[in-house]
């Protein structure tokens, strides 16, 4: 690992000022991804700006009924928070399906959103990779890509975004709050992560030196139920092969509102607008759910070894929607 400077920021302003004009600076959250990548030589920062002691570690009830989650709230605290469990169950479930208890205690909300792909070539500095070193090529396209994208990939990169939390946030229409050299701005989570296109080195639309300060949830749809389901190679402590976050409101057997997002399939959490189109005002039946999932996944372009993800994602979506449409056992 290359030596680096360290600054513990005591205010958002100080953190952003320290990063300004220093392309080699990185914000340090829990470090569970950044420190890992520094050990691998993928990240070689000259300065770490520790933001973990900023006063951004609270979950705040908003007057409109929404929630504002500080960027430093740990993944464990987020999943355990009463308003999240009660009103945004899909988010609590998504966070709890990721990583391990140890990692969730350390990881932050901001860091989770910005975690990098687990593509093996990206993590191996002895291999070419357009995301790590633009213009060197994408060995995953012909090589090991079983875990990688089936939707929205480009000839330059077929990586997947690994965060479970981000998939739930996409289904919940959450917003990312940023503070940077040019002040504050907000970006919907669904537009925060990019598709790889010609610039796979840019995972998100975050600008140099911008700090994530919070994630905001709109008021929950009180009539809706929500759920996250993840398929993986072992029962726990593994990244998603495919996952589904769904929010469903059914009245008198008809879908009043549905929000659906897939994880593990693309370079960003995949909000399934085509599926939602099919679901809107349709009878809440398994047949509708299958047609909706298929409408979305028609755009899939699987690689040699990851075609299994398409039926897997379809079946997950149908199962989750069917479960949500069934009358609740309790409460």
């Amino acid at each position: 690992m290359k030596p680096f400077g360290y600054l513990r920021a005591t205010s958002v302003e100080e953190a952003v000022r320290a990063a300004e004009g220093r392309p080699g600076a990185r914000f340090l959250g829990g470090g569970t991804n950044l420190v890992d990548l520094m050990k691998l030589g993928v990240e070689r920062p000259g300065l770490l700006i520790d933001v973990t002691r900023l006063p951004l570690d609270h979950i705040e009830e908003l007057p409109d009924g929404g929630l504002r989650i500080g960027a430093m709230v740990s993944n464990s605290a987020l999943a355990a928070a009463a308003p999240v469990r009660e009103r945004y169950a899909v988010l609590s479930q998504a966070v709890l399906s990721g990583a391990s208890g140890q990692l969730r205690n350390t990881a932050t909300t901001g860091g989770n959103l910005l975690q990098r792909t687990r593509c093996l070539y990206f993590q191996d500095v002895s291999k070419p990779c357009n995301k790590r070193e633009p213009g060197t090529g994408c060995p995953a396209r012909e090589g090991i890509h079983r875990d990688l994208a089936v939707l929205g990939h480009s000839p330059h990169c077929v990586a997947t975004q690994p965060s479970d939390m981000a998939v739930a946030l996409a289904a919940l229409d959450a917003t990312v709050h940023l503070h940077g050299p040019d002040g504050d701005r907000s970006v919907p989570v669904t537009e925060f992560h990019r598709l790889p296109g010609d610039h796979p080195e840019q995972d998100t639309v975050i600008r140099p030196g911008e700090l994530i300060t919070a994630v905001q949830l709109p008021p929950a749809d009180r009539g809706a139920r929500s759920r996250y389901r993840k398929a993986r190679d072992r029962a726990s402590f593994a990244f998603a092969l495919a996952s589904v976050a769904a929010v469903l409101d059914v009245r008198d057997g008809v879908v009043r509102r549905a929000a659906l997002a897939f994880g593990g399939l693309a370079h960003r959490p995949w909000r399934a607008r085509a599926a939602e189109e099919v679901l809107r005002d349709a009878p809440a039946t398994e047949d509708t759910f299958a047609r909706a999932a298929e409408a979305e996944l028609a755009a899939a372009e699987p690689l040699r070894d990851n075609g299994f993800k398409v039926p897997l994602a379809r079946n997950l979506a149908v199962a989750v929607l069917t479960e949500l449409a069934a009358p609740p056992a309790r409460g």
Partner: protein, 221 residues
């Protein structure tokens, strides 16, 4: 770090020992100044003075920023209980408690933990009296080679506290009552301990040992 994430008796409880400085190799007693660099210019320094409270003893250390908590424990303080299995957060062998919560010490930079209270396997027993989880691991013979054991036990200490504090897990039913302790079923223990791998496959006995203690403490079911 996160007030919402601290047990009532976060850290501190075992930190009664008088501050001792300059003990472990690599410490430079007397040179420790107030915390890390306060300006970006000063941040060009590649090492910082800091304090870590380990098993109740305060250590003043000057460390290269690259040093992880795991390396401080093993290489600087001679506490080799926490193990380096993978060094990438994947195995749990390095698990310790930081301000009462379990964490992978291999992914934590020591400088970022300045001022925190760390408990390792060496700090769990009270004199000759083993921690109930240590007792249970012996009683149940919950190990073979023992390499993963310190991490398993520290992780289990964290699990019991998290369950007592009402933290849900992936297998906690969505409609489970909130606010009180989460009953630690065998399924809960298996899920919550999944960040600790055991190459010897001692899992069944590990689950039994944790279940024994959670039953004794009234958080099992």
């Amino acid at each position: 770090m996160q007030p919402t994430n601290q047990p009532a008796d976060a850290g501190g409880a075992r930190a009664a020992g008088a501050a001792r400085s300059g003990t472990g190799a690599g410490t430079r007693a007397g040179t420790a100044t107030a915390g890390p660099a306060r300006s970006a210019e000063a941040a060009a320094e590649q090492s910082s003075a800091l304090v870590l409270h380990v098993n109740g003893t305060a250590y003043e250390l000057t460390l290269d920023h690259r040093t992880t908590v795991l390396d401080v424990l093993r290489e600087h303080l001679g506490l080799t209980g926490a193990k380096k299995g993978c060094d990438h957060g994947q195995c749990g062998a390095c698990t310790v408690l930081v301000d009462g919560r379990r964490a992978n010490s291999c992914l934590m930079l020591a400088v970022a933990q300045d001022g925190r209270h760390i408990t390792t396997i060496e700090g769990l027993a009270h004199g000759e009296r083993l921690h109930p989880l240590q007792e249970a691991f012996v009683e149940r013979d919950a190990l073979q080679c023992g390499y993963c054991t310190p991490g398993q036990i520290c992780s289990a200490v964290g699990v019991l506290q998290e369950a007592a504090d009402g933290f849900p897990s992936h297998v906690t039913p969505a409609d489970a009552p909130q606010g009180g302790p989460v009953p630690l079923t065998v399924e809960e223990i298996r899920e919550r301990m999944s960040g600790n791998l055991c190459r010897c496959g001692a899992y069944p006995r590990i689950v039994e040992a944790v279940h024994d203690v959670s039953t004794d403490q009234g958080v099992a079911s």
